[in-house]
């Protein structure tokens, strides 16, 4: 093998070793290159294989539940491990409900924090606040859960939930009874957890908007807020959408903190104060005690749902981002449309 290849490629080998004195022979070098290609390809393939394996295992393990309940699993509100009757609606509902609360609050607070950092704060404040935000993002979620359980929930119960439901309990959103743990508590804890992500991503997005664009707006005699509203936010739209989707993704998948504060009840209620469960928290709550095969399969099917939803959110995000970019609204100034051409930006 070695002999044949060295004989066959002799002229080539001589020429290349002549131009590259002291280097490895060409055959060896190209073998190294092949090995590199193979190694990187394998690593990349492993990622794909892992994703496929997860999908396959989830699908196979949830087969008993799928064949027993069919598509109705999605809309059944009944979850009874004793009678072995399972439906995912309470958890889909809980996930949507808490994610909505968390996303709305976290996007508002995160984007405003980022605006303060990039447009208002001076150098010193900027550094301290920027560091704090990154630090917040690194706190383990169980800490947020503890804080939610021992600080947020008692406070919410005494100062928000009880007074509101006593005065306006006829309004379904504020209906009692109040236990303490529930949708609002979970949504708030989630919001606090994802604010740093939203703030950090938004800050990058704002920082990437060229300073000259701000200058141009100010030079037309507008105030800071007018500049932010009419130039900065539109220019940052695509990137901010990315931040929102990241927030949604994190909120949907977050397990530990939510499990600690949501109240662990399989019920569908519109009340902010009602206890509930999300897709991830029901799995965390019940896996240890799911001894029946059907119960396990139902939990697996919820895992599969969560997996697919996450996939959909990510695909949707990409599609949205691509569409925004294609509308040429994010093309940076002077990105080089050909001179006098009928440029089709993007």
């Amino acid at each position: 093998m070695t002999k044949r290849s060295s004989a066959g490629s002799a002229p080539v080998a001589r020429r290349s070793s002549g131009s590259d004195p002291g280097g490895a022979p060409a055959a060896l070098r190209s073998r190294g290159d092949r090995a590199f290609r193979l190694a990187t390809m394998l690593a990349a393939a492993a990622v794909l294989a892992a994703a496929a394996a997860i999908a396959f295992v989830l699908l196979r393990a949830s087969a008993p539940a799928i064949s027993r309940f069919g598509p109705a699993f999605l809309v059944r509100a009944d979850w009874d491990p004793i009678r072995l009757s399972f439906g995912a609606l309470p958890f889909v509902w809980g996930t949507l409900y808490t994610t909505a609360i968390a996303t709305v609050l976290a996007v508002a607070a995160g984007v405003m924090t980022a605006l303060y950092l990039t447009e208002v704060a001076g150098g010193g404040t900027r550094a301290v606040l920027g560091f704090t935000i990154e630090f917040l993002a690194a706190i383990p979620s169980v800490i947020f859960g503890l804080w939610g359980l021992y600080v947020l929930i008692p406070w919410l119960r005494d100062h928000v939930a009880v007074p509101l439901s006593m005065r306006a309990g006829d309004f379904p959103l504020l209906a009692g009874p109040v236990y303490g743990p529930g949708m609002l508590a979970a949504g708030l804890v989630l919001a606090v957890m994802i604010v740093p992500t939203v703030a950090a991503v938004s800050r990058e997005v704002f920082a990437s908007v060229p300073e000259t664009l701000r200058d141009a707006a100010y030079a037309l005699g507008v105030t800071r807020w007018e500049m932010v509203r009419t130039v900065l936010l539109p220019a940052a739209k695509g990137g901010l959408l990315g931040a929102v989707v990241l927030a949604v993704g994190r909120a949907m998948g977050e397990t530990m903190a939510v499990t600690m504060v949501i109240g662990n009840a399989a019920a569908v209620s519109v009340s902010l104060f009602a206890p509930g469960n999300t897709m991830s928290s029901v799995i965390a709550n019940q896996f240890a005690e799911a001894t029946e095969r059907l119960h396990q399969a139902a939990l697996m099917e919820i895992g599969l749902l969560l997996f697919l939803t996450t996939l959909l959110v990510n695909l949707g995000a990409r599609w949205l981002a691509a569409r925004t970019a294609a509308r040429a609204m994010m093309v940076p100034p002077f990105a080089g449309a050909p001179e006098e051409g009928q440029a089709d930006a993007a």
């Binding site: 037309l220 539109p234 100034p333 002077f334």
Partner: protein, 270 residues
Amino acid sequence: MTPVLEAEHLHLMYGARPALHDVTLDVREHEVLAIIGPSGCGKSTLLRTFNRMNDRIPGVRVIGSVRFRGRSVFDIEPTSLRRQVGMVFQRPTPFPMSIFDNVAYGPRMHGVRDRRRLKEIVETSLRRAALWDEVKDKLSAPAAALSGGQQQRLCIARTLAVEPQVILLDEPTSALDPGATAKIEELIEELAGAYTIVLVTHNLDQAERVSDRVAFMLAGEVVEVGPTAEVFERPRDPRTERYLAGRPLTVARRGVRGPRLAPVGEWGAR
């Protein structure tokens, strides 16, 4: 008659670093004043004091006075000052919106709501910026789809739309090719009758072609100011003479490329 803009014994510091030193300069009604000088000589900084754009940079300190029609610019609200003293930048800065909305931006922000009035303003401004014929059929197209030269004329139109009295041009052609540059220069000459224009430029030929007076700056100081022809042909200060001698004489003007004599800073046009 009071000058439109005047700087008097103006010093400016970025933190501890001096950028302008004892600058005294006036800008007269309806003239085109060109400010020339090597990179980093402070010409853009001086330009940005006239509409207080330096306020945006942290750590800037100013000593001395800058007046707009006899009134200190520091006593005028920046928003109001900048409506009267407009500015166009080195690189085109179209906003991420349609051509129409770009030009209508200023008037809208300053309270013009009437659709017909806005259309009028947009058309007038685009005509004055010599861009109307090229874009009249695609006013709702995104501004980013225009070429660099068109984008720069759009930015000029956007500035004109707020009806300023003065236009500050900060190297408006340095990012453009020669064809687009020629169009902007023509435009400057056309606008000269109606507006007071201050042009910062690296391009000495451009300064010579379009300006009535020229100021030469070096290391934060104004070395020499005078009628353009005079400064270019009989500079009084040896430093001006050295700087002007260092430029390559363009084919169009002299037919041959001149000798490079110990340039003071960077020479000539890009």
